[in-house]
């Protein structure tokens, strides 16, 4: 379970202070699929980054399965990002000089604990690339595949460590509507199959309606948290 209690995020740019998030209170149950919507600059990506442990809050608390992210040291936070969180970004963030297979293997490289053999890592990455339908392009580089295939690869990379929480920041933002829909279908499929908590940031209402709950943010404030039309019906 993810709990946000009076979360506040303030950025300082020189003498100027910008409040990106104000007193956000939100609880996300395990296995829930949530869409965070709002206009550009409203603070939805900031919220995602805070949940993902990429950024630190200025005030309040974020508890993930009872763990206070504020109190985690860098090593623990890295472990949290590696094992419990999967990130999917709008512009894929694949390493251009690595093959799709190597890109998917990256999070395994940072996994602590049991040392994995290269062959085991490769086998796991191949299985996931096949699962997301890019198995036939695994030895290609990102420049040689389509946007949809890049995002599928990024999704495979995000779930290789079997995280509990999958965070997607505008995952269809750089894709055409049809490809975008197929990506959302893939995320939904994985969400159901692995029972992951899925949090998608989007400004696309149609995509947001695929979620079980929609959280709306405006000017850094949580405006509304409601069940989506699809699920209300």
């Amino acid at each position: 379970m993810i709990e946000l209690k009076n979360v506040q995020k303030v950025y300082k740019t020189g003498d100027e202070t910008v409040t990106a998030l104000k007193n956000i209170n939100l609880t996300i149950q395990d296995g829930e699929f949530i869409a965070i919507v709002g206009p550009s600059g409203s603070g939805k990506s900031t919220l995602l980054h805070l949940i993902g442990g990429l950024d630190k809050i200025s005030d309040g608390e974020i508890l993930v399965d009872g763990k206070n992210l504020q109190k985690l040291k860098d090593k623990e936070l890295s472990h949290y990002r590696n094992k419990e969180i999967g990130f999917v970004f709008q512009d894929f963030h694949l390493q251009s000089h690595l093959t799709l297979l190597e890109n998917v293997e990256i999070p395994l490289m940072f996994a602590t604990g049991k040392k994995r053999k290269e062959a085991t890592m490769q086998k796991k990455a191949k299985e996931l690339l096949t699962l997301v339908d890019v198995g036939d392009r695994m030895n290609h580089r990102p420049a040689e595949i389509s946007g949809g295939q890049k995002q599928r690869t990024a999704i495979a990379r995000a779930i290789i460590n079997k995280p509990h929480i999958l965070l997607a920041d505008e995952p269809t933002g750089n894709l055409d509507s049809q490809t975008g829909k197929s990506i959302i279908d893939l995320l939904k499929k994985l969400h159901k199959k692995e029972n992951m908590t899925l949090i998608v940031v989007t400004h696309d209402r149609e995509i947001a309606n695929e979620a079980e709950r929609i959280v709306e943010i405006k000017d850094g404030k949580l405006i509304e948290s409601k069940r989506s039309e699809k699920f209300t019906r």
């Binding site: 980054h49 860098d74 990002r81 990130f87």
Partner: protein
């Protein structure tokens, strides 16, 4: 995976990798050449010193004396010679295994020699040495008999004679070179007749006397005999001295003292010094050489050090640039769970790979460089006695050390940029 990733990263920046490796390669290659040269020169000089006497040998001379030309000339200021009693006392010193005397004819003489169709005459000294001390030259029973029988057959001539090995170098690079005469070898000269003119000198008219010329046959060359004279069997010289002045017949120019172990030379040397005699040892010569050679080694090391520091700064610069350019990659890795240590490891692995590459290529380039430089050196340097086959000397431990140094330097200079990369805030890096 780190190495696979590092190789991919280095391959994706081929030109930068090449230039950085080139800097390191030049540094490592120069270090290989300089250490090889330093060790080679040391080895050559050691060989030269040890050819004149082993580490267990001491040379004993009369007080305030020496083996210089002037000190050998009999004048009123001549230093005290060594007596048979001195020799007997030294033989009794613990750890002394053998004492070999060297005697000189009590007056300056001249040597006349006919080679390459010309007759040369020069001032010379006549020395006498026992057969045992010249074992390196008198290797066959025939030569040994010839040496020993000369005493019994005295004054039958020609006497067997030995010259210093360096005399050929002296002839080849002074007389032959300036007069365009052919170079000579030991083999060509062995068996040559020598004409000795006792008590005759071109430089010291006062010593000239009407003595009969004596003949000798050159039977070999030795590193142990003096450069400034002809060496004959010691008893022949003793008998020649009897003819000249009986006071010389029982006085030695110097003694060569063999000690049972190099650990005891200091002790024996001190005992002899207390007897009022001067001693020098091969160990002392080596120590003096080491003191002087330290400056050469230091100079060569400083050059290598500066080159390696420049190469190291190039590596640091490369990784500072890489940190700046690869912020986004660092951010992605941090988002995917890389800890600060992981980020450091990624950069340091790349640096160590550069070190391995620079080390291997540098050592190969250095060894090839040594090979080429040695060919050039062999052509330029005169063919002197004991000239080494190579002026460079490498051993695998030094090369291994240089290889490890290459890896160490590379990772050392990449450490600060790697640390900087590791401390980037994940989100700031990701947003680059």
């Amino acid at each position: 995976m780190y190495y696979r990733l590092a190789i991919k990263n280095l391959m994706s920046q081929r030109l930068r990798t090449f230039l950085t490796t080139l800097g390191l390669t030049v540094g490592i290659a120069s270090l290989v050449v300089f250490t090889g040269l330093s060790a080679g020169l040391r080895q050559a000089i050691y060989t030269n010193i040890l050819n004149n006497g082993s580490l267990t040998e001491l040379t004993v001379q009369g007080k305030s004396g020496g083996s210089s030309l002037l000190s050998l000339i009999p004048t009123s200021q001549t230093k005290s010679h060594i007596t048979p009693q001195n020799m007997a006392d030294i033989e009794k010193i613990p750890h002394v295994t053998k004492v070999y005397p060297e005697m000189n004819y009590g007056n300056v003489s001249s040597l006349q020699i006919s080679i390459v169709g010309q007759t040369f005459q020069t001032d010379t000294m006549i020395f006498g040495m026992p057969e045992e001390y010249l074992a390196d030259t008198l290797t066959t029973p025939e030569l040994q008999n010839e040496w020993n029988n000369a005493t019994q057959n005295y004054p039958a001539q020609p006497y067997p004679a030995i010259l210093s090995s360096r005399i050929i170098d002296l002839y080849n690079f002074t007389v032959a070179a300036s007069s365009k005469l052919p170079h000579l070898t030991e083999q060509e000269l062995t068996g040559l007749d020598l004409k000795l003119l006792p008590d005759q000198s071109t430089f010291f008219n006062s010593v000239n006397a009407n003595t009969n010329p004596e003949t000798a046959k050159l039977i070999g060359f030795s590193d142990k005999t003096s450069l400034i004279g002809v060496t004959l069997p010691i008893d022949v010289v003793r008998k020649m001295n009897q003819q000249l002045d009986p006071k010389y017949q029982d006085s030695y120019l110097q003694l060569y003292v063999e000690v049972d172990s190099a650990d005891h030379t200091d002790e024996v040397q001190q005992t002899i010094d207390k007897m009022g005699l001067d001693t020098t040892s091969t160990q002392q010569q080596i120590q003096t050489f080491e003191q002087n050679f330290r400056f050469i080694s230091l100079g060569l090391s400083m050059i290598s050090f500066v080159i390696l520091i420049v190469a190291g700064l190039m590596i640091a610069n490369t990784f500072f640039s890489a940190t700046s350019e690869r912020k986004n990659e660092i951010g992605i890795f941090r988002a995917l769970g890389a800890s600060r240590t992981n980020i450091q490891m990624i950069f340091l692995t790349e640096a160590s790979l550069l070190g391995i590459l620079g080390g291997v290529v540098g050592i190969i380039v250095g060894l090839v460089g040594e090979f080429v430089l040695n060919i050039i050196a062999q052509k330029i340097l005169p063919d002197v006695t004991n000239k080494p086959a190579s002026i460079f000397l490498d051993n695998w431990l030094t090369l291994l050390g240089i290889f490890l140094l290459s890896i160490f330097l590379s990772t050392f200079f990449a450490f600060i940029p790697a640390n900087q990369a590791a401390h980037l805030e994940p989100l700031d890096a990701l947003n680059e």
